[in-house]
Symmetry: C3
Subunit: 159 residues, 3 copies
């Protein structure tokens, strides 16, 4: 058993894989933060979507008025969905890329730029910053993922 365990933990001895694990975890924790920000705005703006969530405000009409959309809540939710749409491809293409044997410095460049771009994207969406801040930060993350996908296909292509 311990020999097999050692084999799996070879991943964690590899610098490219450690860098992937680190930046992936950072990006996912950032994405998970969106849930807390949504909850924060739902509670402070009193804007809920499920009737059972307003039960503590009383019964009938007094509670029903809190079943409404709020622009700040919807903004955070759009940012969260945009994270899902862009971070999911990064996670899987990034894992395949890490396994395709890139140079450590090149891999770090990809992971750092992606993580930085998505953090800037979140600030650009939530503050919000004037365009093209959000558009550009989105495009940078998108381009990094395309670049890694190109390396994966060049290394692994098997149709």
């Amino acid at each position: 058993r311990s020999g097999k365990m050692a084999k799996l933990t070879h991943f964690i001895d590899n610098d490219v894989f450690r860098a992937f694990a680190t930046y992936t975890t950072i990006v996912l924790l950032k994405m998970m933060l969106m849930s807390l920000i949504t909850a924060y705005f739902r509670i402070t703006r009193k804007a809920f979507v499920n009737p059972e969530d307003t039960a503590s405000f009383g019964k009938g009409e007094s509670a029903k008025k809190y079943l409404r959309t709020d622009p700040d809540v919807e903004r955070v939710r759009r940012g969260h969905l945009n994270d899902l749409e862009n971070i999911v491809p990064f996670l899987v293409i990034g894992l395949l890329y890490a396994l395709s044997g890139p140079e450590l410095s090149t891999a770090l460049l990809h992971f750092r730029i992606f993580a930085g771009a998505r953090i800037i994207h979140t600030f650009a969406y939530l503050i919000p910053l004037p365009q093209p801040s959000r558009g550009l930060s989105w495009a940078v993350g998108y381009a990094v993922t395309i670049s890694m996908a190109y390396k994966v296909l060049k290394t692994a292509l098997y149709l």
Copy 2:
């Protein structure tokens, strides 16, 4: 070739990895079930969103009235999106965690609690159970993912 195949299948010989594969598959099958429940409510409630989906109900106004939202359909869809937002981080952080060499008993504890919490979350959302059932089951899954992320960063941190 067979030597290389053997190397890859070492994963499946590792108990932590087998546990990860099992609970991950269970959680994903549960998430996929949401698609079937959405389809069930769309058909029984006659509540569709695409005009081409109502063509079998006839043409013109007779079909158009089925292009509408239904509270039960929307509730399942919110549960499905909540799954995506919470299960995606678990999948990737859980994989990195499984590769970081945790104790089998600790890993099983994380995977079992997460899977249980998400199954309870689904019942709490769909029945629906009074709050804080849904909120608590969400928080438990969230906390398990944070705990695994902490172990990954402690083991692998490479900025």
Copy 3:
């Protein structure tokens, strides 16, 4: 170090894993294309959701009229969300399946059918083709994922 690197790149020497990497990347690039199609329709239909995105159309009422939903934009967004709901399970169950030691020919069959089904699903959604085109292509991708999940649980089950 180079010994460890070599170990990780063994993945890329394995035909099943190369096939998984190839079809996964294709499916994810297809999903990422949905973002560009959404942006294309938002710009050509002049239908935006964030006030800061319409700033270039002037101030006040003249810009506000572009904050609206458009059926074509909403259709692409539904296709994108359907991708997320179905491709995420494929990615993770497919990875576990590739590590469970399937026959190369069986694995290729699964990956090719899934990728083909999701590409047809996108055309069926966006053109749109009459039903049951979209329903069937969705069901085929769903069934492929269930088939791989069955193999994973049969090989790895560890509760």
